[in-house]
């Protein structure tokens, strides 16, 4: 042990204190920087030749609990998922209006039914008739407006995905770049610690967009995977791609089949060039992107389906007319015949017959289909779960239809076209394999005074609504956006009462029919509205269906809100714990500063004493 050794040791002490001071300065300066982790000095005794002496800066340590950090990432991606969902649900609630206000959906519908009820009291009153038409128009326009709002929300979700994908890509790229830098930098370096802080920040940003898992490699690089195991960042960053659709309408829906999908789909282009469709493989389950996708493809689509179902039920309630066939027989064959004039695409002929061989009653629905691309029709094409649906193209004439049906039924039931537009259904006579039970036809009335109560009150823009099917889907898709009051009826309000030539102006029959259909008659609703199933469809009258829709949406919004709040509490608690541990505590830094100051002074004092001793030695 010599004086010069003491000098060099206190010099190392000075250097260590200086490093500590700069670290304190760095901590205090970055006290409010988001994502900054408190750094401490790792000092150890330097060993030379087996003898200890002096101090060496071993490393700049980041004080962070990795487990806590991992947990926080998981919860914060859940947090941003629930928050975005709750946000969208709140906006969806605004679509239905404030409960009880004059502009709420239910108020508009109630006004319409009340106007019809007033019409039954005074059918001859011109004022009552025009009020019915006006409130009907308001209702139709309200449905149009709601559709536009819901589709605007979907458009926002689409844009949101595009933005999120851009952010995710830049974050992943940054992580990969820092990975490379850290791999080449010496560990324990101050610069490395700062890089790690930055990298954590990017990973947190990515975690808010999608659920991820981070695995630290042996050279300190972060390998980022999605929770379902797809690698996002390794030595290179994968690229997410998304082509947003400019205009989003009820018909632009996502489909796993890329030739049928009209909205953008999220693809992951891996480093080796392969692409994975992330929506189809349900890879992303949490975070903002998952929330946007769920909104765009499921929740808002279901809300639109509910409106479409309501609009379709309203239109068909007032314009459907069912006629029954007349019994007829040819020789020993008995059956029914019916006049199919006026059968539109989407209208159907209902046949009930008993198959004597199995003793079962079978119900057949023969639906007219004008677009051959829609054939064959599925049994779910009608909402009746107990029928078999046969879609037939009527363009070849009724005789061709009859022969096509005969081919299908194989002689058990015989169809023919005795003339004009009459369809005749007969059993097979003496062979007795079948007995015809009933034959009826439900068609959409297109005029206003065809002699029955039904009238085309609501139309699909300028054409009638008959619920037809095409290769792209059903007419009901997006119908709420196109429903309007029949222009011919607006021009001639007396048709609200006069259902035939010679109907008296005070005849309440048709207004009574309209009122009964709107408030009393139950209808089946499609299961894609979120209620009922294909096997047991939801049956209710229009008011009850509307009530159910509002109830379900309100419940979902309230649930989303409480979920978001709960998740927010968890995330905040974790953030608080992380901040407590890894955040800069100014008091602590100040206390450390004081001890560093003292240490510096002490080391300097030692150096001064050694200098004095050397001076004393030299003056000898």
């Amino acid at each position: 042990m010599s004086l010069s050794q003491a000098l060099s040791i206190s010099l190392s002490g000075l250097r260590a204190t200086q490093a500590g001071l700069s670290l304190v300065a760095g901590n205090v300066a970055n006290a409010q920087t988001p994502g900054y982790v408190r750094k401490t000095l790792g000092q150890e005794t330097s060993v030379a030749g087996g003898i200890g002496g002096g101090v060496r800066i071993a490393a700049i340590n980041r004080v962070i609990d990795e487990f806590l950090q991992r947990q926080l990432r998981v919860e914060s991606s859940g947090g941003s998922y629930t928050e975005l969902r709750a946000n969208f649900y709140q906006r969806l609630q605004q679509v239905y209006g404030q409960p009880g206000s004059d502009s709420a959906f239910e108020t508009v519908f109630n006004n319409f039914t009340n106007a019809v009820q007033s019409l039954t009291t005074s059918p001859e009153s011109g004022a009552a008739r025009s009020i019915v038409l006006t409130s009907g128009q308001v209702l139709a326009q309200y449905l149009n407006g709601m559709t536009a709002d819901i589709q605007a929300l979907r458009g926002d979700a689409e844009k949101g995905i595009a933005d999120a994908v851009e952010n995710a890509n830049s974050a992943m790229q940054a992580i990969a770049t820092i990975n490379a830098q850290i791999a080449h930098a010496p560990p324990g370096d101050a610069a490395t610690a700062m890089l790690k802080d930055q990298r954590d920040l990017y990973v947190d940003q990515l975690a808010s967009l999608m659920d991820i898992r981070v695995v630290t490699g042996d050279r300190g690089e972060y390998n980022v995977f999605t929770n379902s195991g797809v690698q996002l960042v390794g030595s290179q960053a994968a690229q997410l791609s998304f082509e947003p659709q400019g205009t989003v309408t009820p018909a632009t829906l996502w489909s796993a089949d890329p030739s049928q999908s009209n909205v953008g789909t999220l693809k992951l282009v891996a480093g080796n060039g392969s692409t994975i469709d992330l929506i189809a493989s349900k890879t992303i389950r949490s975070g903002q992107i998952a929330a946007y996708i769920e909104m765009r493809d499921e929740i808002l689509v279901e809300a639109q389906n509910q409106l479409d179902a309501m609009a379709a039920a309203m239109a068909q309630a007032l314009s459907s007319e069912t006629t029954t066939g007349t019994a007829t027989s040819v020789g020993l064959q008995a059956g029914y015949e019916i006049d199919t004039a006026g059968l539109l695409s989407g209208n159907a002929i209902h046949l009930t017959y008993t198959d004597n061989q199995t003793n079962q009653q079978r119900r057949i629905t023969i639906m007219r289909v004008d677009d051959p691309g829609a054939l064959p029709l599925d049994n779910t094409a009608t909402l009746d779960p107990n029928d078999e649906v046969i879609g037939i193209d009527f363009s070849g004439g009724l005789a061709a239809v009859a022969s096509e049906l005969n081919a299908r039924f194989n002689g058990a039931v015989l169809f023919d076209n005795p003339g004009g537009t009459t369809l005749r259904v007969l059993d097979d006579g003496p062979a007795g394999r079948s007995d015809i039970g009933a034959l009826s036809m439900t068609r959409t009335v297109t005029g206003l005074a065809e002699g029955g109560n039904a009238l085309a009150f609501f139309t699909d823009a300028t054409s009638p609504y008959s619920g037809y099917f095409t290769s792209t889907g059903s007419q009901s898709m997006g119908f709420a956006g196109r429903i309007s009051v029949n222009a011919a009826l607006l021009g001639d309000p007396s048709k609200l009462v006069k259902f035939n030539t010679g109907t008296a102006s005070g005849d309440p029959q048709r207004p009574e029919f309209i009122y009964q259909q709107l408030t009393g008659t139950p209808f089946n609703f499609a299961p894609n509205s979120g209620m009922g199933t294909a096997a047991s469809p939801y049956t209710a009258d229009l008011t009850t269906f509307m009530r159910q829709v509002l109830s379900l949406q309100g419940e979902a919004a309230a649930n989303a809100d409480s979920l978001s709040q709960g998740q927010g509490v968890v995330v905040n608690a974790l953030k608080q714990r992380l901040a407590d541990e890894s955040g800069v505590n100014v008091d602590q830094e100040m206390a450390y500063l004081i001890s560093l100051q003292t240490a510096y002074g002490a080391n300097a004092r030692v150096m001064a004493v050694v200098r004095d001793l050397i001076d004393t030695l030299l003056r000898m």
Binding site: A31, Q32, T33, P34, G35, Y89, Q90, Q93, Q94, Y96, Q98, P99, G100, E106, T107, N110, N111, T113, N114, Q117, S118, T120, T121, S122, E124, S125, N167, S170, A171, L201, A504, S505, G506, D507, P508, E512, Y515, T519, T543, M546, R547, Q548, L550, S551, Q553, G554, E555, A557, A558, D561, N572, K575, Q576, A579, G583, V586, D587, M590, A591, I594
Partner: protein, 499 residues
Amino acid sequence: MIVNNAGTNSALSVQTLIDMRNQLVDLQRQLGTGKKATSYAGLGLDRGLTVGLRAHLSAMAGYSQTISEVGVRLDLAGTALSQLDSIGRDAKSTVMKSQFALGSGNQTLDQRTAYLQFDQMLSVLNTSTGGRHLFAGRNVDQPAVATADHIMNGEGTRAGLKQIIAERRLADLGTSGLGRLAVSAPSTTSVQLDEDASPFGFKLSGAVSGLTGSTVSGPAGSPASLSVDLGPTNPAPGETVRFTFAMPDGTSQDLTLTATNSATPAANEFTIGVISDVTAANLQTALTQALGRLAATSLTAASAVAAAGNFFNTDASNPPQRVDGPPFDSATGLVDGTAANTVSWYTGESGADGARTTAIARVDQSLTLSYGVRANEEGLRMAVQSIAVFAATTFSATDPNAEASYISLKQRVTAQLEGLPGKQKITDIEGDIAAVHNALQTAESRHLQTKGTLAQLLQDVEGAPTEEVAAKILALQTNLQATLQTTAMLLRTNLLEYI
């Protein structure tokens, strides 16, 4: 490029402050609007219930409006019907006490009064409110009945009541004035009456002969004929033979001929001759004269009443009936009148269904009241018809049978105004309308109670009670102030202040 906000650490501690502030703002909104939430999400589990309640309340508002509108109509209809009833009763007492004293226009004063009453009745039947005629069935925008002048005197080429009565009179009396009967003697001792093949005039119901040795045969055959055979013996004086005829208005009339020894028989008497042949001849003569007189009196009155029935008893499937002619006195049947040749007294809607169903009022979800009236309902029609026929007929001062005819007409009209048992009267219609009015008022009071209950229920679910919200605001205010103070204290306390 995501930009994070600085100050995240301290923001965690003020997050609670922000939450509390938002809560305070929401409570203020609740206090101001009185409503718990601005969207269905905030209403809680009962949100579906509120939708149903609001729909129910809105429907009830509609029913209340209907009730008040229909109430006005029923009031008016009830007033009109009681007016009609009182006119009918006045007319009946006038007709009953009427004396035959011809004035101007070949009618009595009472007949002219009856015309005014008829006019009054028609204008009451045309009562309308708010452009809606109450007695026109479904054709509420048209008057229910035509004017008195048109009905009585016709309009242009269209025949009125007077013309119908005149035509029918000719048809019923026949060319011979004997009421379409032919008197003949098939054998020397018998007298025969033959109907003719038409619906007009006298129809043979039967005969009862008290003449000794006589036999009555018939009525038989088609067209019917009836004969009284005196036989070889002469009747004794005072014995009678009574013929019964069916009249065109559905009543029946007797004609009794008495045998007498006097050579100058009085009316309705016949002289007993030396032998029954002579008696039979005398009987035939007396019968012919009596028939002529009866035709000029009772048959004329009955014919007028029947003609009024032909004109007024119409509906959608039964047009007015006209005598097929000219010539009318040999007409063989009735034909349907058309809109071009006959005035239609009822211009409202007539259909096969009940008159009440022509106007309905929906006063509750499953309660629909029917209150329509057609002016051609039986009770109203009979009153109008009876007064009309009394006002339409004319008599000649030089006609010896005029007074008897007048009296016969008077009796028939009085009987019709009295009303026959089992037939609808005006008071029946009044009763129906009053019953509906009652039901209306019951429904209104029921709605009032239900509305109160439902509104209270709705308020409980979606309303924000002022006291509760105010208490919450006070509590929150206290918490907020405490938190603000302690947060400020904590943030200020650090080592820097003391170094």
